[in-house]
């Protein structure tokens, strides 16, 4: 029985990690095709990727879109959560439901809807429109995380701050935001990783300047190459780094 459960665990991890492992392994392929057999270890594809102007530009765009859209989503999510958690509004349950609803909508639908809207408004497609799309998909997530974090303890600390003479701006700046530091970081990093990996909206809403997933996709059309594996591995590395950062910043703090 015990051996079986270990086997099960091994199979499970293999199933999850094998594709990524293969991707990373063949990014070091010393040959022209990222398929077995493995012909030897080489960093030339990484050099190739890092020397590629277009890929590096797309990487920069991805960082900018991820950081910018996550920042905006966190700010909007915080304001919505603070308002709904602290004030009795008519129909606040409905407002909360509507705010969270976009989670249930496929990104393809969101992307198409935004594309139609942007065309109708006559706006040019750009990294800005892709960023707006990422705010749309990340806002519900940020709102849900922050709303759940605004508990009674926080409310009474805000009350105490008011009692001691703090203005509303001071209450938010000195009590609410510092107390929410961990959930704010969680919301930011989570939406940054989602934006970093997001393809459909970025594909639909960008044109000349594109994000990294879109650039990789256009490379893919010209056939398989270990170069793509190297680019993919770099993307994966960044995602892992962000998740690890999140663990250290948020979960370590919570354990205290």
């Amino acid at each position: 029985m015990r051996a079986l459960s270990w086997l099960y665990l091994a199979l499970l991890y293999a199933f999850i990690l094998l594709p990524v492992g293969a991707l990373v392994l063949f990014s070091f392929q010393d040959g022209r095709l990222p398929v077995p057999p493995f012909q030897g270890f080489s960093l030339r594809w990484y050099a190739d990727v890092l020397g590629d102007r277009r890929l590096m530009a797309a990487l920069g765009h991805s960082v900018a879109v991820a950081a910018g859209s996550s920042l905006v989503a966190c700010a909007l999510g915080f304001l919505a959560a603070y308002g709904l958690a602290r004030h009795a509004l008519p129909g606040s349950a409905l407002i909360r439901a509507v705010l969270i609803a976009p989670i249930a909508v496929s990104t393809l639908i969101v992307g198409l809807g935004l594309l139609l809207l942007v065309n109708r408004l006559g706006l040019p497609l750009s990294l800005w429109t892709a960023g707006i799309g990422h705010v749309v998909i990340n806002l519900p997530l940020c709102f849900a995380i922050l709303y759940a974090a605004m508990g009674d303890q926080q409310r009474s600390a805000e009350r105490a701050a008011r009692d001691l003479g703090a203005s509303e701006a001071q209450v938010i700046g000195l009590v609410t935001l510092p107390m929410l530091a961990a959930p704010l970081a969680a919301a930011f990093f989570l939406s940054a990783t989602l934006s970093w990996d997001e393809f459909i909206i970025a594909f639909l809403l960008t044109r000349f300047e594109v994000t990294l997933p879109v650039e990789i996709w256009s490379l893919l059309r010209s056939g398989l190459s270990p170069r793509l594996n190297a680019a993919g591995s770099l993307v994966f590395l960044v995602s892992v780094a962000v998740v690890v950062l999140l663990e250290i910043l948020v979960l370590a703090r919570r354990r205290r």
Binding site: D152, S156, R159, A160, D163, L164, G165, S167, P178
Partner: protein
């Protein structure tokens, strides 16, 4: 810093429910007043109205003669010690205590010096650099007190401040609260449902029930001569004996007592367990012992009076001798209170 508080006919409603029915109360400067009552009696709502966290539908609140009814908490000369302490978890204890001074625009060095003095006042002079989660519940309670006192409020409001502490610590903190209040001279308004706590610290107790003030006065006056049957029962254990008014006296199954009746007809005679003993001028006949427990300061006994065998009385007898099987009951009429029976239903 201290000021008087005047509450004038304050009415408060939560939706359709009225929780305060025209409450009026005068609190003198430097007085330690305890609002006492069961949960839902409106005592915490009244405290919130004093602190500015709730706005009354009718009536006024004056502090030091100034109408503060519509002022927000930040602009009132009051601070509150909250039931859950409401410390700022991301700040050191020193920064917690200095928060109000910071809001008042005081510079860092000065407010930290003041905060350290406040922490010393509550016995935490070496813990200024710690954070709230690093200290015990009792210590957090002291920090909350120091934080509220640091801004030198005219009136300090305490919302069940000792409710989360264990019994021993609670009794110790009661003495300390009283001592600190004497030292700083600030008016304290303290909410609790614990009558022992109220008696231990209050200059004056205000007994509340269902949004009204039932009784107010010094602890001994409320305990010994309560104005209502509810106040009598809430302030401690009480024997209730059915009675009727008879001329200028009160007739009970235990005998007729020379006590002025509250009116005509049915009445309830209230006897504290410690008033019921041997040696008072009024004889109540013989009683049979129906169980006794030694509680250190006294024997607590259950008695069946011979004149009314269906009654059960609780009495406190001196600790130095075990009570006998039978004893003769007597009472001092000065320790007896009588209420109309109709009041019990109300």
């Amino acid at each position: 810093m201290t000021a008087s508080v005047t509450i004038e006919r304050v009415v408060h409603r939560y939706g359709p429910q009225t929780v305060l029915h025209g409450v009026s109360l005068e609190i003198g400067a430097g007085e330690y007043v305890v609002l006492l009552g069961p949960s839902g009696c409106g005592k915490t709502t009244l405290l919130s109205i004093l602190g500015g966290f709730a706005s009354p539908a009718e009536g006024r609140v004056l502090i030091g003669g100034r109408d503060v009814t519509r002022l927000p908490p930040a602009r009132r000369p009051t601070t509150t010690v909250f039931q859950d302490y409401a410390l700022f978890p991301h700040m050191t204890l020193r920064d917690n205590v200095a928060f109000g001074l910071r809001m008042a625009g005081m510079g860092r060095a000065e407010r930290h010096a003041r905060a350290d003095r406040q922490l010393a006042l509550v016995g935490l002079e070496h813990a200024g650099a710690k954070r709230p989660h690093e200290v015990s519940g009792g210590q957090r309670q002291r920090v909350a007190l120091a934080r509220a006192l640091a801004v030198e409020p005219d009136v300090l409001l305490l919302d069940e401040p000792l409710g989360a502490l264990d019994l021993k610590l609670r009794r110790a903190m009661q003495d300390e609260l009283k001592a600190i209040q004497r030292r700083v001279g600030t008016t304290f308004v303290h909410v609790t449902h614990d009558q022992e706590e109220a008696m231990a610290i209050a200059d004056r107790i205000v007994v509340m029930r269902a949004g009204r003030i039932e009784d107010e006065g010094t602890p001994d006056r409320i305990y010994r001569r309560p104005r209502t049957l509810f106040a009598a029962g809430f302030m401690g254990e009480m024997n209730r004996v059915p009675a009727r008014a008879a001329g200028g006296a009160v007739q009970t199954p235990l005998g007729t007592l020379p006590v002025a009746p509250p009116g005509e007809g049915e009445a309830v005679l209230c006897l504290r367990p410690e008033a019921l003993g041997r040696g008072g001028p009024c004889d109540l006949g013989e009683a049979r012992l129906d169980g006794a427990a030694f509680l250190g300061t006294h024997w607590r006994v259950h008695l069946v009076p011979e004149r009314a065998p269906d009654l059960r009385l609780v009495a406190q007898l001196p600790p130095h001798a075990a009570p006998g099987e039978r004893l003769r009951l007597s009472v001092d009429p000065a320790e007896v209170t009588v209420f109309p029976a109709a009041a019990e239903a109300a």
